[in-house]
């Protein structure tokens, strides 16, 4: 397929205006998505460097690279940067911002100015947190557990907590904007059950954003206030309860895991039908399972607290509900797998990430059930088993989904093709590096290596060396897309409007899209994913 030359000369969102000012004052959802892309990549690099330092330190049982305090600050920086400033905003703020209006046939989000404000709030929150890190760091871990965070730690807990508090409003505004946009701005004919599953996933995510984020906001604010004004809300000396902090913290932070994984599931739901040329199997089930995950996800937080002294009855219920939330997740996995059946499967880079997601998410999810079992959790609680489990979800799941989505929509975002061969190699490197990093940690945890310690018995060294070797490979794998995406912006081949022959409104407008997205508001007359099984004339445009 030869690219339509007119799509390059036409006005698009990238060339409509030039200069820093035009970007920093933009109200175009596509440009704001791009701003987020750059900002969270910086945060990803910071969190990634901290991870590399952690893994290097763990090469030797004695932890020769850094002292105890530095190590504590490193894993805190890694967690805070990755959770609050990369994973939570990643797919929603970058791909969701860019794609939701395109996918529903709208000219922009409902509140463009609020959208830009959310980016500035994110930058402000990130800035405050970076300030906390640069002026001495924080050593509480990303969980800010009391009473250590309120009374024990003498590091910059207050400013780090304030940074998290501020960035929370960026999530809230993004979620609010998405909900209103999806409710009020769908193109004519785009009924709820015709919405792309990516949009359904963003809708479910936005519900968590607006219901969960205010709770973490008030909670970390109370920690900051308790530290700086010496009032006691969680202070045992006044009869306050540090465990209450854990309840409030996990009320958000467990659903936050679904903030990270649901959008990735949405991405996978888009990629799989495209590269199997099949209609998605079980559309309604996948759509509704996103909502089920969002709602059930609010009722399982107590499984983080099985060993905190929480009542056994509460633990039983939380354990049961944690098993229940696995059902809608499994519904998705089965439906994706069924979509593969008798498909005409292509192994382009986005599909490699999507397939990797299914496998790694399944491992992460099933090991989550180990942890949701009351008896087994006592053995593996706070060990590397937990670390491996949630990295299979967050890195194996969320980051794979994010990268798959970036590759899939990169031609739309940049108007250029990325180098396909290099991208496939990177996807394989990332997959292998990831497994080499985190699979040994399951074993380490099961054998009893606790998390957050930087010295360990010598018999654990071999597995730790494997893990560190894997992390180096993984780090290299992540560098490649950053380099070739940036390269392709300038030197990549020009992409057509629809290089993948994909269904969906976002492919019905030029790449990159014009500022107002569509020359004419599209009218939707069919269900989504109208892929036909085999079309011999069909050829994808890859570089």
């Amino acid at each position: 397929m030869t690219p339509d030359p007119s799509s390059r000369t036409a006005v698009n969102y990238l060339n409509v205006d030039y200069g820093v000012r035009s970007w920093l004052l933009t109200k175009d959802h596509k440009r704001i998505g791009f701003l987020y892309l750059v900002s969270i990549t910086v945060m990803f690099a910071i969190g990634g460097l901290a991870a590399l330092a952690i893994r290097l330190d763990l090469l030797t049982p004695a932890g020769d690279l850094m002292g105890d305090d530095t190590y504590n600050k490193m894993f805190t920086m890694h967690g805070v940067a990755m959770v609050f400033f990369f994973l939570v905003p990643s797919i929603p703020a970058v791909l969701g911002n860019f794609l939701i209006p395109l996918m529903i046939g709208a000219r922009d989000l409902a509140f463009p100015r609020l959208n830009l404000a959310s980016w500035y709030i994110f930058i402000l929150g990130g800035g405050i947190t970076l300030y906390a890190v640069l002026t001495g760091g924080v050593d509480t871990g990303w969980t800010f557990y009391t009473p250590y965070s309120t009374e024990g730690s003498n590091t910059n807990v207050t400013s780090a907590a304030l940074g998290v508090f501020v960035s929370g409003f960026s999530s809230i505004l993004t979620g609010l904007n998405f909900l209103v946009t999806i409710h009020r701005m769908r193109a004519p004919g785009l009924r709820w059950l015709r919405l792309p599953l990516f949009v359904w996933a963003q809708y479910a995510t936005s519900i968590i954003f607006i219901l969960g984020t205010p709770v973490i906001a008030i909670t970390v604010l109370l920690v900051a206030v308790e530290r700086s004004l010496d009032i006691g809300i969680f202070d045992p000396a006044l009869g306050g309860d540090p465990i209450l902090f854990q309840h409030l913290f996990w009320f958000y932070s467990h659903p936050a895991v679904y903030i990270m994984i649901l959008p990735a599931m949405g991405v996978v739901s888009e990629i799989i039908p495209c590269f199997t040329r099949n209609k998605i199997f079980g559309y309604k089930f996948i759509a509704v399972s996103s909502l089920a995950i969002a709602l059930l996800g609010f009722l399982v937080w107590g499984h983080h607290m099985f060993v905190s002294g929480q009542s056994v009855n509460a633990s039983l219920i939380f354990s049961f509900l944690s098993f229940a939330v696995a059902i809608p997740s499994a519904v998705k996995v089965f439906n994706w797998t069924a979509t593969l059946y008798k498909g005409s499967i292509g192994f382009e880079a986005p599909m490699l990430y999507a397939l990797g997601f299914i496998g790694l998410f399944t491992i992460g999810g099933l090991t989550g059930l180990f942890l949701a079992s009351l008896g087994l959790d006592v053995h593996v609680h706070d060990t590397y088993f937990v670390v491996a489990h949630f990295h299979y979800i967050m890195v194996g799941g969320a980051v794979m989904g994010y990268l798959g989505g970036l590759h899939f929509w990169w031609p739309k975002i940049s108007g250029k093709l990325y180098p396909e061969w290099l991208a496939r190699v990177s996807a394989v490197i990332i997959f292998l590096g990831f497994n080499l990093t985190f699979f040994p940690q399951f074993v380490l945890g099961y054998l009893g290596m606790p998390r957050r310690y930087h010295v360990y018995p010598p018999e654990f060294q071999v597995l730790n060396v494997f893990s560190t070797a894997g992390a180096s490979i993984l780090g290299f794998g992540y560098l490649l897309p950053i380099v070739y995406f940036a390269w392709s912006m300038r030197y990549g081949k020009v992409a057509s409007a629809n290089p993948w022959n994909a269904a969906g409104l976002e492919w019905a407008t030029p790449s990159p899209p014009p500022p107002d997205n569509f020359a004419e508001t599209p009218v939707v007359e069919d269900d989504p994913y109208g892929y036909t099984r085999i079309d011999p004339g069909e050829e994808l445009q890859v570089a």
């Binding site: 509140f111 609010l176 904007n177 709770v215 006691g232 006044l238 409030l248 569509f518 508001t521 009218v523």
Partner: protein, 234 residues
Amino acid sequence: MPDSHAASVPHAHHHGHDSHAGHAGHAVAHQFDDAEQQFGAATLGMWIFLLTEVMFFGAILAAYAIYFVTYVDPFEDASNHLSLALGALNTVILLTSSLTMARAVHAAQTADARTQVRWLVRTLALGAAFLVIKAFEYGSKFEEGLVPGIGFRYDGPGAAQHELFLSFYFALTGLHALHMIIGIGVLLVLVWMARRGRFSAAYFTPVEMSGLYWHFVDLVWIFLFPMLYLLGRH
């Protein structure tokens, strides 16, 4: 709703409608098809925002409720440190301000700019009166040594729990007062807009949305007053 929007016109020429609106009603922003869709979006957005506020206050109220159930007697005693008269007066003031706010919303749709401004200013004055009274209450807590963290001097039975109660008192009413201050800022903007004749039966979205916010902040106080001031009075 067929749309004749021409997307080939560069973005920059498109928006900024709202900045030179005002004479013949309010223009519709470029992302919306019509004024009705725009109003619907604003309304839904405001309700979702208020939902986040419910969760925001809900979390700290839940924490407070848990401690109250744990320490019923000390919390009931500690509640008597608060001035029932001033709390009740503030309740009356806030409820009245909700009435004047509702009148302001009504006036924005039906009346001339002067009437609109009059009701907005009355609401503003009542909000300010609430904050002044609150400031006096805080001041007396300082004098009595009842501010947690800085020289908490009460040493009767259950002193620690008294301090815990007062920590919540300041956290809850402080957050509420912060919302009042933001509300007063919003009202000032509305007064400025009303004076410039921005509002009419065709366009009154900012007043209506601010009204929702004002009533919500009022409603929070309706919860705070009994939960803080009336615990020990039975």
